[in-house]
């Protein structure tokens, strides 16, 4: 019981990170109907930017308190957003209106480019980071087993929820959000209503990248090791989350992220840590076969 509770806590905090990344996949898919295969690597860029910022702050003796973490998040979000914008500009916009496979291929190219760029500029070795957020609570004790809720887990959940709240407000209540939904539903009509569709698509990439940067920063602080390749594995899991939740659905992406986080954590705890990555891939295959529209994906019932 206590052991399961611990897994639940771990699974939720991991799932939040997947959810943040999954939102980026689903947003881009919604607006241009394409899987942005470089999105996992954008997450990796976010983690590296956070690492560099933290190292700089540490060397200046300024890595103290919540203010420092906020600063790390903001720096990582800004830098990564710029990458997201550039990726769209270089790899996707020139191919808009081209045959369907073209942007997919350039997305994969972009992914490889980003990985190699970080490998060359930062080195191939795994980068460790000393724990910068310590402490936690003892939730309960059962026999010899202590259920821990660490400060960092609380931080992950609260930051993720705040970011998602702001994001939800942005999409549902603001002109930009309405423009994004309009482009998603009928881009030609959106332009006829004066929406600058190119700019809206750019901003979608920027917002998706900023969310991935939050995920990257939290991932780094929580697990303490990153390398240039984490974007692939984490990216595939977040992509699975987006598909499981229903690609195109924003609440679905968060729900899918939580489920994948829980599945992976419980799988590692009760079956096999070695095969934990297999769990996510198995889910992906099953979802694609048995319910390709996902949990909250839309059933097409509209009159057209």
């Amino acid at each position: 019981m206590a052991y399961a509770l611990q897994q639940l806590i771990n699974g939720i905090s991991l799932g939040m990170i997947y959810g943040l990344i999954a939102v980026g996949y689903t947003m881009v898919y919604g607006i241009i109907g394409m899987i942005n295969f470089a999105h996992g690597d954008v997450f990796m860029i976010g983690a590296f930017t956070a690492l560099i910022t933290i190292v700089l702050l540490l060397s200046g003796g300024m890595m103290e308190g919540p203010g420092a973490i906020l600063l790390v998040l903001l720096v990582s979000m800004s830098v990564t957003a710029l990458y997201g914008w550039t990726v769209e500009r270089l790899a996707y916009r020139p191919l808009r209106g081209s045959f369907r496979l073209a942007p997919l291929i350039s997305a994969i190219g972009m992914s490889i480019l980003l990985q190699n760029y970080v490998q060359v500029s930062q080195g191939a070795r795994v980068k460790p980071l000393e724990p910068i957020v310590r402490g936690g609570f003892e939730v309960m004790r059962e026999g010899g087993f202590v259920v821990q809720l660490s400060t960092i887990q609380i931080m992950i959940v609260s930051i993720t929820l705040s970011v998602l709240a702001v994001f939800t407000w942005l999409v549902t209540r603001t002109p930009l959000g309405r423009a994004m939904r309009a482009c998603e539903q009928d881009r030609k009509m959106a332009a006829l209503l004066g929406v600058d569709t190119d700019r809206t698509i750019s901003l979608t990439f920027v917002i998706g990248a900023a969310l991935a940067a939050v995920a990257g920063s939290l991932y780094l602080i929580r697990y303490g090791v990153i390398d240039f390749y984490i974007g692939f594995l984490v990216g595939v899991k977040a992509f699975t989350a987006a598909v499981l939740g229903g690609i195109g659905s924003l609440p679905g992406a968060v729900l899918g992220g939580l489920l994948i986080g829980l599945i992976e954590t419980f799988w590692s705890a009760y079956f096999s840590v070695q095969y934990k990555d297999v769990a996510a891939f198995a889910v992906l295959v099953m979802v694609l076969i048995f319910m390709p529209t996902g949990l909250l994906g839309r059933q097409e019932v509209e009159k057209v």
Binding site: R178, D186, A190, A191, L192, E302, K303
Partner: protein, 236 residues
């Protein structure tokens, strides 16, 4: 002159849909464009909005050359279109669809909402319903209402009476007349129902396979035998 096309050509890939079209709409004028299926009427309205872009010729709006402007910039200048196929946003509420219309101009939608609701009370009843679940006629009202939300100076209407019950169609025509008379709104109207359109319009053009073949006051065109035969279904 609020809108002027000079020898405009446009098309899609290898398809040439418009050839040397010259046409104008004066300030405060209702102009109608009639023509058979596939003549290029919708293409003409869309070309004014920059999608597809004119391949040759010049389009000016209120004296300003808009031929090369991107669509969103053209629309922000004061043109609104209720396009063919209505293109209501299916997963947005009726209210959000209408607000999208006002966002172009960047003004507060409150007063315009009231105006559209007065014109189409049905839309007020359905404000919280998703666009995609409206009936065809309701979607048509929404598309027209959305175009009006922008407070355009020139309104482009592509077959506004399509799929509407005759009573509602008459309401829409009288609404157009009223907006024109009271607010001086200029209108370029494409219609299948040539009879009603020519009665409503100050002037009309006839488009045949991408070329303008006839032009004249609405009433005068109504009396032309070739128009009666081809578009009014009253000929032999």
């Amino acid at each position: 002159m609020i809108l002027e096309l000079e020898t405009v050509s446009a098309g899609y890939g290898a398809v040439q849909a418009l050839t040397d079209v010259s046409l104008h709409v004066a300030e405060g004028e209702i102009v109608t464009l009639i023509g058979a299926n596939g003549a290029g009427k919708s293409t003409l309205l869309m070309t004014i909005c920059g999608d597809p872009r004119a391949r040759a010729g010049r389009i000016t709006f209120d004296g300003q050359d808009i031929t090369a402007l991107p669509t969103h910039a053209i629309m922000r200048g004061g043109i609104a279109q209720s396009p063919e196929g209505r293109r209501v946003f299916p997963r947005m509420t009726v209210l959000d669809n209408l607000i999208m219309g006002a966002e172009v101009a960047g003004h507060d939608p409150g007063r315009d909402l009231e105006r559209v609701y007065t014109l189409f009370p049905r839309l007020k009843e359905r404000a919280a319903q998703r666009g995609g679940t409206l009936s065809g006629g309701e979607q048509q009202m929404l598309a027209i209402g959305r175009a009006l939300m922008a407070r355009p100076r020139l309104l482009l209407l592509d077959e506004p009476s399509l799929g509407l019950a005759p009573l509602i169609a008459r309401q829409i025509f009288s609404a157009i007349r009223e907006l024109n008379a009271r607010e001086g709104l200029s209108v370029l109207l494409v219609e299948q129902n040539a009879n009603q359109a020519l009665r409503l319009a100050h002037r009309g053009y006839v488009l045949v396979t991408g070329r303008i073949t006839l032009e004249g006051p609405g009433r005068a065109l109504l009396d032309r035998p070739e128009i009666r035969d081809a578009y009014l279904g009253t000929g032999a």
